[in-house]
């Protein structure tokens, strides 16, 4: 059961627990009906990232199944279809910057992973 906490026009939606995430990899969640990829990098200061799950180039909902890594200082996920890299922080595609995945703010409250969705 998801609890919705209202804050201005945005709300933090409970998605899952930290234990549901896979370290150094991604999973997918339905957040307000949208497919959202959630990545977990336990070693990082910001350890949970969320991007829209649809690969705009490959046209399939697979971003959560990409490999995580870094290019220069940017943390990225590589699409499993054609290997373009998307920044975890902003969703911008490095190879084709005209494509940007929607990115979502995340936070962890008492092991509960929350994603910020605008209403």
């Amino acid at each position: 059961m998801s609890v919705v906490k209202i804050l201005k026009n945005e709300c933090w939606e409970d998605v899952c627990t930290l234990a549901d995430l896979v370290p150094n990899s991604g999973i997918c969640a339905l957040v307000s009906g949208q497919q959202v990829a959630i990545f977990y990098l336990p070693q990082e200061e910001t350890s949970v990232y969320a991007l829209h799950n649809r690969d705009p180039i490959g046209q399939a909902d697979v971003i959560s199944r990409g490999i995580l890594g870094s290019i220069g200082d940017e943390l990225v996920v590589a699409s499993p279809l054609y290997k373009q890299h998307f920044k975890l922080s902003s969703g911008v595609c490095l190879e084709q910057p005209e494509h940007t995945l929607q990115s979502y703010k995340t936070r962890v409250i008492d092991s509960c992973v929350q994603v910020l969705v605008s209403s």
Partner: protein
């Protein structure tokens, strides 16, 4: 303008090279080829490999189809009988007439059979064409003893052929030594010693006077000295004579002892007729080697273009392997130059002989002989051809290093004119040009210049030149796998092995920077799997895997997966076939037979994978690793169990091999096949390692592949018993896994392996690096720790959590839509998807 009509008579190596050169030159010409033999040009130099299992197709230099593609009108099996110079036409044996504007004679030569009484007896053969080989092979079935008459280069090649056919082999030479043209006495003696050690009996200074029927054997040869030799077969290989009859009949100028006289442009006494190769006489000489023939072909072809080349004679230096013995001869091998100084090194224990012939002032190399060790050949040839000044003590060039020998000539010392690849005539200058033109790896230079694609003898030198040029430009080839590790895959492999590193995190901390990426992570995962063979979905490994490995299935374009259970050797019971059909029906999967003799089930949603595999595993299936860079399939033909022609049980061997290597993680996917006979129905020669049954065992082929850049596998070892076969494959695969780059298939790996196939054989067969046991042990460890990853996964509830499409919902991905086509589902197109989703909304 009308295209010139060029008729080329003869389709041997040189005739073919002419056609290729002309076709590539861009000159507009209408080319017609008339070959006397029933098949297009083939590699005559490596003819004896026919008996080592190489088939005529593999010796082929071209095909009818290729000629068709490049617009060449080619006719085979109907030799030209006559030239009608007045009408400018040639007429074939079969009476066909071909008009020409320019005629090119590349008729080659025929073997000289000495006029000895009885030399036309049954059992007396020659050695030049594939048809000759067929005759030799047919007669060898009834023959125990074979004699080659002629101890020259071709004679020793023929001796190799008889030896490969399992005959007691003799070589009879009229002159006092073997290879008298190319070798001095010392070299000739050492060569004889080595060849005799291989079991070939050598008789020199023998003049055959008579050949008659034998008593226990078919034939008896009688020599001038009163001795005799009993044999079943005699192969004449005592030199060649130019095939110049049609030129003679047409009244073209010939040499006193035959040969069509040509000028610098390879033009005969009729300016519309050219002659090239062994039928041509230039400067009073017939050039019986292929490289000068090629130069003639190029010179003749260039006469039709603006840029006219001249043939100015050719260096006759040669390096070859005769009966497995390295033989090299450069320039004035006999030291006939006036006041020449000689340096000789002879080692009878290791059977190595080297001689240098140097100018009186000691500054230039005039000639050299090398027996048993040709490693200095390239270097010496450069000194000779480019007149590079010798070091103060030239003897050090041939002495072993321990005795003060010095390393070979560095690439930097060579002038730009130095020929690096003599087969394809590529100079150092051309290589530099290629690098300046943007080539930045050995492979790219090879592709761009074609260097080292002939005999391959210059590969090591080429590598040195490329590396030296790169370095001098500060262009050192960056071999780092990616920005996170400044190491090659091979270096990473060694670090992980030596330091017993068990996880990516550990490796990154010790030797890398950043977070890793989609390049280094799967590569390291593969190395970890090859070395330690952990379950790949363990927590520390899971983030390293490509999606295919993570979900143990192959992702398709719409985000669904395909499932490929293992069907080892392509053998499957009816019950299992039914299960596959039932599973496909139940989960509405699209089914297709793969090229590797398996069945691929497409369109499985992520959350369906565990259920599908649950059913497959309970029916006795296991994972097929179609998702991994690992062994895929071992294809097989039905073999001796059913087939009328089968020589061995190829299915049983394929099952054994597939079950042995299944799950083996490697730098790229691995494919194999086993054929039960030489008809090769399993197409083993297009595989990373292919096995073909022989009467007595198995032939092993390695480093082939299909796909984008197909490559035929090379014959690696012959007539192996089961145990040796597996031993060699173990070593071969582990050596590849250890040393290849990421995503480098065996064929490309071999191309980049210094020393090439010879080196690979030394490592795998002769165990030159003394690592064979270790490689076998490592393979045994991997084989011993095999697990079906799907079985392990479905038994672990925790791991199964990953196969949910959504972490927080049991729904499936509503964007995945199928439509029906030909009675099966397929992914809907974008517009179909929109339409269908709109209807359901």
């Amino acid at each position: 303008m009308n295209e010139q009509k060029i008729v080329v008579v003869g389709n041997g190596m040189v005739g073919h090279h002419y056609v290729e050169t002309l076709a590539k030159s861009g000159v507009s010409a209408n080319i017609c080829v008339i070959g006397g033999e029933p098949r297009p040009a083939y590699d005559r130099v490596h003819l004896s490999e026919y008996f080592a299992g190489r088939k005529p197709e593999e010796l082929a230099l071209t095909t009818r189809e290729h000629y068709q593609e490049i617009g060449v009108d080619a006719h085979f099996g109907d030799p030209v009988a006559k030239i009608d110079r007045k009408a400018k036409a040639v007429i074939t044996d079969g009476g066909r007439r071909f008009k020409y504007d320019k005629l090119v004679l590349a008729t080659g030569s025929y073997p000289f059979v000495p006029p000895i009484p009885g030399s036309d007896s049954k059992g007396c053969l020659t050695y030049r064409t594939i048809d000759d080989l067929g005759m030799i092979k047919a007669q060898a079935k009834k023959a125990k003893v074979g004699v080659v008459v002629g101890g020259g280069l071709l004679g020793l090649e023929a001796a190799n052929a008889l030896k490969l056919l399992g005959m007691e082999t003799h070589v009879v030479e009229f002159a006092p030594g073997l290879m008298g043209v190319q070798l001095d006495d010392g070299g000739s003696t050492m060569l004889r010693r080595k060849i005799e050690a291989l079991g070939v009996r050598v008789h020199t200074g023998k003049a055959t006077q008579n050949i008659k029927a034998g008593t226990d054997t078919r034939l008896l040869m009688e020599f001038a000295d009163g001795e005799s030799l009993a044999t079943d077969m005699i192969v004449f290989s005592a030199g060649i004579r130019p095939s110049d009859q049609i030129a003679r009949d047409a009244g073209l100028e010939l040499g006193g002892r035959g040969g069509i006289v040509v000028d610098y442009h390879c033009r005969t006494s009729d300016s519309d007729i050219f002659a090239i190769g062994e039928c041509a006489l230039f400067g009073g000489m017939i050039y019986g080697l292929v490289a000068p023939g090629y130069r003639m072909a190029e010179a003749a072809a260039s006469q039709l273009s603006e840029d006219k080349l001249a043939f100015q004679g050719s260096d006759m230096s040669t390096k070859l392997k005769l009966l497995g013995v390295d033989v090299g001869s450069i320039g004035d091998a006999h030291g006939k130059t006036e006041k020449a100084i000689n340096f000789v090194f002879s080692d009878e224990r290791d059977e190595v002989y080297k001689r240098l012939v140097v100018t009186a002032d000691g500054k230039n190399l005039l000639g050299a002989v090398l027996i048993g060790d040709c490693s200095d050949y390239d270097s010496l040839l450069q000194y000779y051809l480019n007149e590079i000044e010798l070091p103060a003590s030239p003897e050090n060039l041939i002495l072993p290093e321990s005795a003060g020998g010095i390393p070979a000539l560095g690439a930097a010392a060579l002038p730009a004119t130095a020929t690096i690849c003599s087969c394809l005539n590529v100079s150092k200058g051309a290589i530099i040009e290629a690098i300046e033109g943007g080539c930045c790896s050995l492979g790219e230079v090879k592709t761009s210049t074609a260097a080292a694609s002939g005999c391959g003898g210059c590969a090591a030198l080429l590598k040195n030149v490329v590396e030296d040029e790169m370095a001098s430009r500060g262009l050192e080839v960056d071999t780092s796998i990616c920005e996170h590790f400044s190491y090659t895959r091979q270096e990473l492999f060694h670090m992980i092995k030596v330091e017993a590193i068990k996880s990516f995190a550990e490796l990154l901390e010790k030797h890398g920077k950043g977070h890793g990426c989609d390049i280094c992570k799967p590569a390291v995962a593969s190395i970890l799997a090859s070395l330690w063979n952990d379950y790949i979905l363990e927590e520390k490994h899971v983030g390293l895997q490509d999606t295919n490995d993570t979900f143990l299935a192959n992702m398709q374009k719409n985000g669904t997966y395909s499932v490929v259970p293992r069907i080892a050797g392509g053998e499957i019971t009816p019950d299992k076939l039914i299960v596959l059909g039932e599973v496909a029906k139940k989960y509405q999967l699209y089914t297709k037979i793969t090229g590797g003799q398996r069945i691929d089930l497409f369109g499985a949603r992520l959350e369906q994978l565990p259920d599908i595999w649950g059913e497959l595993i309970s029916a006795g299936f296991e994972t097929g690793h179609a998702y991994g860079k690992s062994l895929r399939t071992v294809k097989s033909c039905v073999g001796s169990t059913w087939c009328r022609y089968g020589q061995q049980d190829s299915v049983a061997m394929a099952l054994y091999v597939e079950n042995r290597y299944k799950g083996l993680r490697s730098p790229h996917k691995l494919k194999s096949a086993v054929s039960g006979c030489t008809r090769e129905c399993a197409e083993a020669q297009s595989k990373d390692f292919g096995i073909i049954a022989t009467e007595t065992g198995w032939n092993l082929y390695v480093c082939g592949n299909g796909g984008m850049r197909p490559r035929h596998a090379d014959l690696f070892a012959t007539d192996l018993d089961d145990e040796t076969l597996i031993k060699y494959i173990d070593r071969f695969l582990m050596f590849y896994i250890r040393t290849a780059d990421r995503l480098q298939r065996t064929s490309v790996w071999l191309d980049n392996l210094e020393g090439g196939m010879d080196y690979l054989k030394e490592v795998v067969i002769q165990d030159k690096l003394q690592i064979a046991r270790e490689l076998e042990q490592q393979m045994n460890d991997v084989v011993g720790t095999y697990q079906c990853e799907w079985r392990t996964t479905i038994e672990d509830a925790d791991k199964l959590k990953r196969f949910r499409t959504f972490v927080n919902s049991g729904e499936s991905d509503s964007n995945i839509v199928f439509v029906q086509e030909r009675g099966q589902p397929r992914p809907a197109s974008e517009s179909e998807t929109i339409e269908i989703l709109a209807k359901t909304a």
